[in-house]
Amino acid sequence: MYAIITISIVAIIVLFFGAFGKKKMILPVIFVGLPLAFIVNLMGWNQSIHYFNEMYIDDNFTIAFNGLLLFIALLIFVFAPVYYKSVKRPLEDIYALILFSLVGGLMMTAFGNLVMLFLGIETLSLSLYLLAGSKKSDPRSNEAAMKYFLTGSFASGFLLFGIALLYGACGSFNLEDIKLYVIQNQANIPAMFSIGLLLMAVGLAFKVGAAPFHFWIPDVYEGSPTLITTYMATVGKVAAFAAFFRLINSSFGDVDFLWKTSLIVFAVATILIGNFAALYQDSVKRMMAYSGVAHAGYMLIAIIALKGNAAGVLLLYSVSYSIATITAFAVLMMVRKETGSFSIKSFNGLAKHNPTVAFAMTIAMLSLAGIPPLIGFSAKYQLFVSAIEQGQLPLVIIAIVGSMVSVYYYLRPVVAMYFTRSIESTPFEAAKLYKKQILFVALLLIILSFIPGLIINLI
C-alpha cells in the first residue's frame, strides 16, 4: 500500500522536476524513490493487512510480487540513462509514465476487489500505450502504440463485460464474497457466471499475451523503443500473471471445471505457437517477443496447477524470466546502438570484440531455454513437477517439447556471436556504455541460480 503511495509521489515529483527544467534531479529522485518503495513494501511481511474495505490486500503474495516488480523497474531504470544518452530533453514524461504504470502493476498484484483489478490493469495499460509510442518521430513506434491501444482497449471491454456478468450472478465485486457464492452454489452455477468468468479469462489472456490473443505482441514489442519493450515484457507480463493467479486462486479454485479446460487450451496453443513462430524470426527483437509468448504459456501452467506451491513456482518463474529477459534486451540495445539493426546477423562475431557482453547474452539465452544449472532450469523443473503432481502430464509433455524446440532459436544468437565471423571488425563503441550494467544483470542471474529454493519457499 505504502509502496504505491511512494511511487505515485515520486512520479509526480519527477514530472515537476522535468517541467521546471531540473533535468539533473530526475534520475537521482528515482534511484532514491524506488529502493525506498522497495523497503516500505517489505514492512507488511507476514501481516496480511486489508485496506479500504478489502479493496487492497497486503499479504505475502502481494509483497513478494510487488518487490519483484519494483526491483525489475529499478533494473530498467539502470539502463535508462545509457539508452537515452543522446536525447537532450529532460524525458520526465517517459520516466513518470513508467512509474505510473508501475503503480498500476502494484495494484494488480494486490487487488481484493474486481474494481481494483480493473483500475490496476487500466493504469498499467494506459501508460504503456503512450510509452509504446514515446518515440514520436518513428512511424513504427506510432504504429505499435496504435495497435497496442486498439487491442488493449478491446481486451478491457471483454474483461469489463465479464466483470459485469459476474457481478450480476454474485452481487458483489469482492473476491471473498464471490468465493462464498461459489461454495454455496457449486452444484448449480448459472450460465451468466460461467460466461462472465470465461470473458474475464479472455480479457486477461489478451493482457498476458496467451495464444489465440497473442497477435499484437510481436508487432508491439518490435515497434516500441527497446527500453520500453523490456519494461512491457517484464513488468507488464509479471503483473498480469500475478493478477490472473490471484483472481483464479482466491475465488475460483473450487469451480475449476469452469476454467481449467479453456486455460489448458490457451497454454498448449501459446507454447506451440510461441516456440514455433520464434523459429522463423530473423530479428532478435521479434524472436524475443515470441519467446515472451512462449513463456506466457509456461506461466499459465502454474495457474492451471493451482494447488500446492503454485504461487512460489510462479514467483520463481517470473524472477527467472524477467532477469534473463532484461539481460537479453540490454545486449540487444547495445547491438542495435552499434549496428543499427536487430537482426541476428548483427550479433556476428560479438564474442571477439566483447567477450563479456557475449557471455552475458549466452547466460541469458541458456537460462531462457532452461539449461541447467541456471535459474531458468530450476524454474521450469519446479513448474513441471508441480503440474505433474496435479495430473497434468500431457500438458507437461507438450511444454517439454516446446522447450526443446526453443533451444534451437535461443542458441542462434549464441552461435552467431561465437562461431560466425563478422564482416567488418569495428570495435563496439556502445559496449563501453553498456558493459558494466549488462555485467551486473548477468551476475545477478548467476547468483539467483544458486538460490531457487529460497525464492520458491518465500510464499
Binding site: V115, F118, L119, E122, L126, Y129, L130, G133, K136, P139, R140, N142, E143, A144, A145, M146, K147, F149, L150, S153, F154, S156, G157, F158, L160, F161, I163, A164, L165, Y167, G168, G171, S172, F173, M192, P218, D219, E222, G223, R286
Partner: protein, 109 residues
C-alpha cells in the same frame, strides 16, 4: 432515487441482459470489421458502455450501490482511454496522413 429504481425494476432483468449483450456484440463486431480507427474507438466505447449499463441494471435490481460506483470508475477510465486514443490518432495521422488501420502494416509479419 427510489422511484427511479422502482421504475427500472418494472422492466424484466432479462431485457437488460439481452440488450446489453446485443450492444456488446455490436461493439465486438464493429472492432473486428471496421477499418477506420475512429470507428473502432466508437465500437470500443460501445463495449464499455454496454458493460456500464449492465452494471447499473444489476445494481438497481439488487439495491446494491457498488455496481453504480464502479460505473463511475469505468466512465473516468474510458474518458482517459479516449483521450489517449485520440492523441495517438493525431500522432499517427501526422506521420502517415491516414487513420485507416490497413495502412498501418509496416509491422506485419
Amino acid at each position: 432515487m427510489e422511484t427511479t429504481v422502482t421504475q427500472l425494476q418494472m422492466i424484466p432483468l432479462s431485457y437488460y441482459i439481452i440488450f446489453c449483450t446485443a450492444l456488446f456484440t455490436i461493439g465486438v463486431v464493429g472492432v473486428l470489421v471496421k477499418r477506420n480507427a475512429l470507428a473502432i474507438f466508437m465500437s470500443v466505447e460501445l463495449m464499455l458502455n454496454s458493460a456500464n449499463l449492465l452494471l447499473a441494471a444489476f445494481s438497481a435490481y439488487r439495491n446494491d450501490p457498488s455496481g453504480q460506483v464502479f460505473v463511475f470508475f469505468i466512465m473516468v477510465v474510458a474518458a482517459a482511454e479516449i483521450a489517449i486514443g485520440l492523441a495517438l490518432l493525431v500522432v499517427v495521422y501526422r506521420s502517415s496522413r491516414t487513420i485507416d488501420i490497413n495502412i498501418l502494416n509496416r509491422l506485419k509479419w
